[in-house]
């Protein structure tokens, strides 16, 4: 039977990546002085599975490399070797190496083995440089990667038959080994040229007999030239639990057997049997190589740099509840269908009930479907222990990372996009927030700084907190820098909140020296923009000497949006509800014209630029009195703008459809949705709107001052 092994590759890759993550996590939480057995076992098992899988599925480069990793881990596990920092570092680098080998294989490339070879040499040096157990483990285990078949075919076909004296231990049956099956196998390989004689010598008296024990012994005569290894294979599993003496039959018998025509005929087909098997395995191997490479390559091209898996693991509970919902929906549908035939006005009541039922089903179904895309945030959090470890070592700071709320779920798409901004924030906390150990000690704090990550759900959003107990944001420094960069005026008096908000402004960086870690041109403005593109928000609070706290709020999903419907002319637009600060009745007295072309709204003590939605999107509107209009004040990138609309309609959840995929990208519009009556409504991209209007707070403020 030929089986295409490539069908299991995707699962193998996914589980190997998971295994590597587990290894990494285990290594990071390991206490080098007193490693926890369970942690070491987990790490070992992960390496072990990757080795086993890669060997089985034909990735020998990975298997060979993983083998040395596993050997070392096995020694640690069995207590033959003490864990130390250099082994830990080597293991961590190896995790990276295995991951990249697998990624290259998955992308259909020939993996670059330079690093693997180098690391393997280091492992071998460690393993060899030590006592005998290491050698033995390495040597004893070494064969199983390349050598698949258990039989060592050292002896060729011996003589013309064998005599086998087989005396099993009485407990043989307790291991599930059944002599009759072994005889059957011998009969098979010798093509029934076999005689079996039982000996009752060991049989005790009936009263002394344990019915589950084996008291028989056998003498087996095989009168056919077969490979000695075939007999060895039959007894392979019992060789230690039995006396097995195999002798070649005498030369007289050999001669007589050789002249037997039946036997010579029989040797022929046997070699034929052997051949196709070998071919078959070859075929399987080459088949899956070609089969894998083609599709995987395509996939790799499509996804370019992102090796993220496109499949998603869903718990069976979620699927079950989904199936359940669909069942309910079908029932409601057939109920309504029946009602539709011979409908008359007397049945309106039932129709309404049916529709209410349908609404209920739809909502539940929607919730269940959304849940499928939800994954615990631990998928993102899990990469941070390594990051914190590496960064803190580079900077020679001492840092504890505390994670909580790892099981909080959020949409897979959101999760994929929130990773990078979080990395940036955590690097920042370590680089700028946490002080050097001596500085901390001098300030009366513990030498070890703490970075806390927390996630939880709050009113339909997921909230992610990044908190450190470092020096806190330096207000004077921020203000000074902002003046230098022309963001604010020297005389501007700002609240703490406004000062902290400055760090999110484009072109702002407080790092005194551009370090290895931060200050690489990616600023907090990018972080805020990325989060805003997920319809989320970020805020910061800080206290000098005590630390800073960043709070990210994100919608649970990107597929559905809480929207505010507004009317402009005959068109309906939708604002994301999160972006709306307030809506006010338009009042001419609060509108000022600045610099001759742009209107600003005086909103308490702030000036907010005003954009006319109908002008931006060329919507025909009848001239109405301004006083009837509404200004929707929205906030984006920390700036407010007032958007003039005709009318506020309802709020509702809308399903986002991509405009880009169905039409083309339109500036100022992030997507579209289909309303209940079937019309299409456009969703306003608030940050795009502020760019389009071409005005910003600063311009207006400076204009206002000049005026």
């Amino acid at each position: 039977m030929s089986i295409d092994l490539s069908q299991f590759h995707q699962v193998f890759y996914e589980e190997s990546y998971e295994g590597l993550d587990a290894m990494e996590q285990g290594l990071l939480e390991m206490d080098i002085e007193a490693p926890d057995d369970e942690v070491i076992n987990t790490i070992f098992r992960a390496a072990h599975s990757i080795k086993g899988g890669s060997g089985t599925f034909g990735f020998n480069q990975v298997a060979e490399f993983t083998h040395v990793v596993e050997t070392l881990l096995d020694e640690v596990r069995s207590g033959d070797r003490a864990m130390n920092q250099s082994i830990m570092d080597l293991l961590l680098v190896s995790v990276d190496c295995m991951r990249s080998l697998l990624q290259e294989l998955q992308a259909g490339d020939d993996p670059d083995l330079t690093q693997a070879k180098d690391l393997k040499a280091q492992f071998e040096a460690i393993l060899k440089g030590d006592a005998a157990p290491a050698e033995q483990a390495a040597g004893g285990d070494g064969g199983d990667i390349t050598d698949g078949d258990a039989a060592d075919a050292s002896d060729g076909a011996g003589g013309q038959g064998y005599h086998i004296h087989f005396v099993p231990e009485e407990t043989l049956l307790q291991t599930g080994n059944e002599p009759t099956r072994m005889f059957r196998q011998l009969a098979e390989v010798s093509e029934n040229n076999i005689e079996v004689m039982a000996s009752f010598d060991r049989m005790p008296s009936l009263t002394a007999m344990n019915p589950e024990h084996c008291y028989l012994a056998w003498d087996i005569k095989i009168t056919k030239a077969i490979d000695r290894s075939e007999i060895d294979e039959v007894f392979e599993w019992v060789i230690d639990d039995a006396e097995v003496i195999i002798t070649e039959l005498g030369s007289e018998e050999t001669v007589s057997a050789a002249t037997d025509p039946v036997n010579t005929e029989n040797t022929e087909p046997q070699s034929e049997v052997a051949d196709p098997i070998v071919q078959k395995t070859d075929e399987t191997a080459s088949e899956d190589k070609t089969a894998v490479q083609a599709p995987v390559k395509e996939k790799a091209k499509a996804k370019a740099a992102s090796p993220e898996s496109s499949s998603i693991r869903v718990s069976i509970d979620k699927v079950d509840s989904l199936i359940n919902m669909v069942g309910e929906l079908v029932i409601t549908q057939s109920m309504l269908g029946q009602l539709g035939q011979n409908f008359d006005i007397s049945r309106v009541q039932r129709l309404q009930e049916g529709l209410a039922q349908l609404e209920h089903n739809t909502r539940e179904l929607q919730e269940s479907v959304m849940k499928i895309r939800m994954m615990p945030i631990s998928f993102v959090f899990s990469r941070f222990p390594r990051l914190v470890r590496d960064v803190s070592r580079t900077l020679e700071k001492k840092i504890d990372l505390v994670l909580s709320g790892e099981n909080t779920e959020l949409d897979k798409t959101v999760m994929e996009k929130i990773g990078d901004p979080m990395v940036h924030l955590i690097r920042n906390s370590i680089d700028h927030g946490i002080e050097m150990p001596d500085v901390r000690a001098a300030a009366g704090k513990s030498e070890t700084g703490t970075v806390e990550l927390n996630a939880f759900h709050q009113s339909g959003n997921i909230v992610i907190e990044i908190k450190d107990d470092g020096a806190g944001l330096n207000k004077e420094r921020i203000q000074q820098k902002a003046v230098e960069n022309g963001l604010i005026d020297e005389t501007t008096i700002l609240t703490d909140e406004q000062i902290f908000d400055l760090i999110f402004q484009p072109g702002f960086s407080t790092a005194d020296a551009v370090s290895d870690l931060s200050g690489r041109g990616v600023g907090m403005d990018v972080v805020r923009r990325n989060i805003a593109s997920l319809n989320g928000s970020i805020e910061v609070s800080s206290e000098t000497g005590l630390g800073s706290r960043f709070v990210i709020r994100l919608p649970l999903t990107l597929a559905i949006l809480d929207g505010q419907l507004v009317k402009v002319g005959d068109e309906i637009f939708i604002f994301p509800l999160v972006s709306i600060v307030e809506s006010i009745q338009m009042d001419d007295s609060s509108i000022n014209n600045v610099g001759g072309h742009s209107d600003v709204l005086q909103l308490r003590d702030e000036y907010v630029p005003i954009v006319q939605l109908h002008e931006l999107f060329s919507v025909n509107v009848e001239d109405t009195i301004d006083d009837d209009k509404i200004i929707v004040v929205v906030e984006t990138d920390g700036e407010k703008i007032g958007v003039v609309v005709d009318e506020l309609l309802g709020q509702q959840q809308v399903v986002i459809k991509s405009l880009e995929e169905n039409f083309k990208k339109v500036e100022g519009i992030s997507g579209a949705t289909i309303l209940g009556d079937g019309t299409v409504a456009l969703i306003v991209d608030v940050s795009g709107l502020s760019k389009m209007s071409g005005t910003s707070i600063k311009q207006i403020e400076s204009a206002h001052k000049a005026a």
């Binding site: 039977m1 089986i3 092994l5 069908q7 299991f8 590759h9 699962v11 193998f12 589980e15 076992n41 987990t42 070992f44 098992r45 072990h48 599975s49 080795k51 086993g52 899988g53 060997g55 089985t56 599925f57 298997a63 033995q136 483990a137 004893g140 285990d141 064969g143 199983d144 990667i145 698949g148 078949d149 258990a150 049956l173 307790q174 291991t175 599930g176 080994n177 059944e178 099956r181 072994m182 196998q185 589950e212 039959v234 392979e236 599993w237 230690d240 639990d241 098997i277 078959k280 395995t281 399987t284």
Partner: protein
Amino acid sequence: MAKILAVDDSASMRQMVSFTLKGAGHDVIEASDGVEALKLAQGQSVDLVLSDVNMPNMDGLTLCKNLRQLATYKFTPILMLTTESAGDKKMEGKSAGATGWIVKPFNPDQLLTTIKKVLG
């Protein structure tokens, strides 16, 4: 056709084993660790158990010992899927009550040939 309990914590190995055995007409029950396997085994008898050695929660050797305690599994063939070809590991398996072993990596043909030894 035999009923086979396949135990492995690696989903890809489990799928490969299960696919191969089903392809050969066998009935396969899967478990991802010793604890799950033991639970499944308690409710029914099978003709063969194929188990990985290194697994979380309960490893293959412990599973083997526990299965041998069950009346219906006293003589059931139990094969360990192992990468350890070293002798002492095999002995450990034997003393836990394993019937034999299949050395990883193996291909589907090798798997089928080996299980033929203990079925029927």
